[in-house]
Structures are given as C-alpha cells and as structure tokens.
C-alpha cells in the first residue's frame, strides 16, 4: 500500500504542521495536539471542545473557528485523545462561561472525556457534555455500548457552535446539542476498507462486487455484506434505514458524507438519489450538505445523516460559520 507519509508514528504531527501552515487563523499546538481558534478565549462566550481519533478529517480540527468549535484535540489515528489534551483545550478556551465537550459514543472517547471533565472541573472550569450517538446500524440495547457517533457530530458542532456564538449560556447550549443529537440519525456503507498507517494494509477484506452495509468510521466492518448495488438501490436502503428510526415530522437537514475515497462526482449522484427517496417518502428537505466531512481515511463509501429541524435549529444552522472545512454567511 502506498501512502503519502513519512513514518506511521509522525502522521498526526505532520498533518498538524501542515494545518498550522495553511491556517494562520488557528493556533496549532503540535506538541500537545490541540487546535484552538486564535482569538480564544472569546469573552462572554462558552467554549466548545471536541476531539477524537485522527483519520476522520476534516472532523474535528477542520471545524475550529467562528460559529463552530473553539478547540479540537486530535488523537492518534482512530484513537481518542488523552485527557491531558482535552484539559489543555478546555483551559485555553474557557472565558469563565464554561466549556461544552462534544463526545462521540465510543468507549475510548467517552472514558477519556470523562476523565478530562473531572480534571478540568478540579481546575475550576465548568464542563457540560453532549454525547453523539446517531448511527442506526448499531441497535441500542442493554448488551451493547450503544449507538456509534458519526455524521450527526457535524450537526451538533455547527448548531451548538452557533448558539455559543450568540452568547447562550452553557446549559442552553448543552440542551441544544442534545436536541440536535436526538433529532439526528445516520447510516453508512463501505465500498472498500480503509488502510491505517500503522497496519499498512486494509482493515478488512472486501471482495470485488460486494459492499458492507452499516459501517462505522473506524474501518471496522459493517453489520452485513451484500452484492454491490447501484447508487439508486443503496440510497433506498440507507435512507429507509434512517427513516425507519428517525420518523421525521418536519423538514430535515441532509448530510451526504463521503468516507474519504469516493469522488464528489459519485457523492453528488448519490445525493440526488437520496433526495429522490426523501421526496418519495414525503420528507421535506431544509438544507443539504454534500462532501467529505466525517471520513474514515481512504475508505470508499458514503453515509447519510438527517436531522429533523425546527425554526430555531434551522436559523442556527444558517448562522455564519468560518472554519477550514465549513464556511458560509461571512
């Protein structure tokens, strides 16, 4: 497998050096692995901190900036950040109004954010948490760790970030974040496995002519394998999987997300099919975002995420945002 890297051990640090070079509006602490908006802490504003394993770019570092995250902590590839990073980030963005942690539901993320919250609170920073768990491919039951957090992370970070920019208090932003998560569901498919730099070969073996349904964002196989389908058929399957669970009674935000190695030509085509199915199911679409936002290294495939919105959530979605990967209204 050919990869554009030096050695696996420095992949994350090398990427952060490049990010620092490309985005002078961010403070990139390469040694401690914290990406912070340069004007932090913003007086009177709640800080928003997220993080998770690297390999999902632009998530989360690409979402740091006005109207979204205050700071992001990249972990090793597919490995959650450690508490030290998160505590440092919280301290860097706290203006005295408190900090919201946006956490994806993976055991590692949950444990490290929990430890960090305790430590940060000991240092006098008020912390609230929103857990993102939107993936309908994983059923919630007493016997599992619950649903995975995937595409809805972008919705939570954007909408909660807009509320923070407006000066909403911590408890309110936490409530909005939870509301967005509860109103969002995702489903993903893989057309190829991904290759982690540490392993150097695909994380699972997907024979030609087959696809994985219900994949997560860590190169783990999905729930089921089937013969390859057309974009039309995949959209039917994925949209129905989400709608069976979400059952929206109003307009939805649509995220058609690439897993990293699927070209925009295919993603837009898939987005058209997603719109077709939504029209057939009589679900009105408020806004649509198509692109690579919550990726899984070089995995081919796509996920769809819907978020049922009311007027307030839609207004916050439309509010100005200026980050490396998401920018509008300013």
């Amino acid at each position: 497998m050919r990869m554009l890297i030096n050695v696996p051990e420095t992949v994350v640090a090398d990427a952060l050096r490049g990010m620092a070079a490309a985005h002078p509006e961010l403070t990139v602490d390469i040694e401690n692995r914290v990406v912070v908006r340069r004007d932090a802490p913003v007086a009177g504003k709640v800080g928003l901190v997220s993080g998770g394993g690297s390999g999902h770019e632009p998530l989360h570092g690409g979402f740091v900036g006005r109207g979204m995250l205050s700071a992001a902590c990249p972990g090793e590839v597919f490995t959650s950040p450690v508490p030290d990073q998160l505590v440092r980030a919280a301290a860097a963005v706290d203006s005295g109004e408190g900090v919201l942690f946006v956490v994806k539901n993976y055991t590692g993320d949950v444990l490290n954010f929990e430890m960090a919250a305790e430590l940060a609170e000991e240092e006098g920073v008020r912390i609230a948490k929103v857990l993102v768990n939107d993936d309908v491919a994983v059923t919630d039951s007493l016997y599992t760790a619950g649903r995975r957090g995937t595409g809805a992370t972008l919705f939570v970070e954007k909408i909660a970030g807009a509320a923070a920019d407006e000066g909403a208090p911590l408890e309110r932003i936490e409530a909005i974040g939870r509301q967005v998560n509860e109103s969002s569901r995702s489903f993903g498919v893989a057309l190829s496995a991904c290759t982690t730099p540490a392993k150097g070969s695909p994380t699972f073996d997907l024979p030609p002519g087959e696809l994985e349904l219900g994949i997560g964002i860590h190169g783990e196989p999905g729930r089921e394998r089937r013969r390859m389908m057309t974009s039309h058929e995949i959209a039917d399957f994925a949209v129905d999987a989400v709608l069976d669970d979400l059952r929206p009674r109003g307009p939805v935000l649509v995220l058609v997300n690439g897993m990293g190695a699927t070209p925009l030509l295919e993603l837009y085509g898939f987005g058209a099919e997603v719109h077709r199915v939504l029209a057939e199911r009589r679900v009105p679409v408020a806004r649509t975002l198509v692109g690579n936002y919550v990726t899984s290294l070089d995995m081919a495939g796509a996920s769809v995420t819907f978020c049922q919105v009311n007027e307030e959530l839609l207004r916050l979605w439309d509010a100005p945002v200026n980050t490396p990967a998401l920018r509008w209204g300013c």
Binding site: P8, T79, T107, A145, A198, H218, E220
Partner: protein
C-alpha cells in the same frame, strides 16, 4: 517479598512483551476493532519505561501509580483509561509499603480489576480484557504460574464469545471467532509478571 525494584522490572517486562507482540495485537484488533491496539500499547509502555527511568519510585505502589498515569496520558482510546486505571488502582491499594507479598499483590490486582470493570461497565464473558484479568487476579493468590495460565486460558476463551462492550460490540455476531485484543494484551502483562517472578 516484592520490592519496588521487582515492580519496576515487571513494568519493563510488560514493555518488552508489548513491543514484541505489537503486530499480533494489532492483527487481532483489525479483525474486530480498528487495528491500533498494538501500536497504542507500545507507545504507552515506552512512556512508562521512560518515566520509570527518569524518576524511579521507591515503593511498589509508587511504581504502579506512575505507570498507570503514563498510560492514561499517552495511550488514548479505551485502553489508556482502562489499563491506566488498572495499574493506578492496584498501586493505590498497595499504599506506601516498601515491600509486599504475592498475596497482597493479588489483592491489589483484584482491586484494580474491579475498578476496570466499573469504569468500562463490563463483566466476565463480555469478551474484554476482564476475561483474562479476572481469573488471573484470582489465581495469583495461588501462584504466579497459576495466574499466567489463568490469563492465557481466559484470553483464549474469548474466541467463541460475542462482544458486548467496546468497538467489537458493533460487529454483533461477527465478533465471534476472534480472540479479544484486550484480553490478549492483559494476558501479556500477567505473563510478564510470572516471567519476572521467575
């Protein structure tokens, strides 16, 4: 009696074992997880080795606490907090005694394992590191060799299990038929203990 120096050597032996077996751990993890367990554990124990050399603690408890703190600060993922908590809690249980008996270590290890179970919300049979650690801590009351054998048997016994915790649980039925990487690495740590005890 086991002094700080014994615990120091145990942690170094853990580092060598994890280093030696990193590829196997990653291979196990790629079957049901995300293919990084080996590299993460290697990074963690390299930090443990460094820290112990820089500021060697004077007590067995001190060694385990320092090692645990290093793992939490460097491993990430679920393994960092879980292994870090295992060692920190065991170290705490040993207090500031200058030397401890094998029975005291067994007790401390049991306390550490209980903390891991609480933190991860897992129980025996969930296909996690606990499936190696629970029987090992129990058997350590008997002998070091019994602990090693119990850990190895516990790790192997995870193969036919259905994962209920952690990332492997997202695979459901497809997690069956693979050894749990966390149980495998736990077994390595107990084997290192038996090795150092001779």
């Amino acid at each position: 009696m086991l002094g700080a120096e014994f615990f120091h050597r145990w942690m170094i032996a853990c580092g060598s074992a994890v280093d030696r077996e990193a590829d196997r751990l990653t291979e196990l993890d790629s079957a049901i997880g995300d293919a990084d367990h080996g590299i993460n554990m290697r990074r963690g124990f390299a930090a443990v080795t460094d820290a112990l050399e820089k500021e060697p603690p004077a007590t067995p408890g001190g060694v385990l606490m320092l090692a645990g703190r290093q793992l939490i600060s460097t491993v990430g993922g679920a393994s960092g907090p879980l292994y870090g908590t295992l060692l920190r809690r065991a170290g705490k249980a040993l207090g500031d005694a200058g030397e401890v008996t094998r029975e005291q270590l067994a007790e401390a290890l049991n306390a550490g394992v209980a903390a891991v179970a609480q933190l991860g919300g897992a129980a025996a049979g969930d296909k996690t590191m606990l499936d190696a650690l629970l029987p090992a801590a129990e058997a350590l009351g008997e002998s070091f060799t019994a602990a090693r054998e119990a850990a190895e048997a516990g790790a192997l016994a995870t193969v036919p299990l259905l994962a209920r915790k952690g990332r492997a649980s997202y695979l459901g039925e497809r997690s069956v038929g693979h050894e749990d990487p966390g149980a495998a690495s736990s077994s390595l740590l107990i084997a290192a203990l038996a090795e150092v005890a001779g």
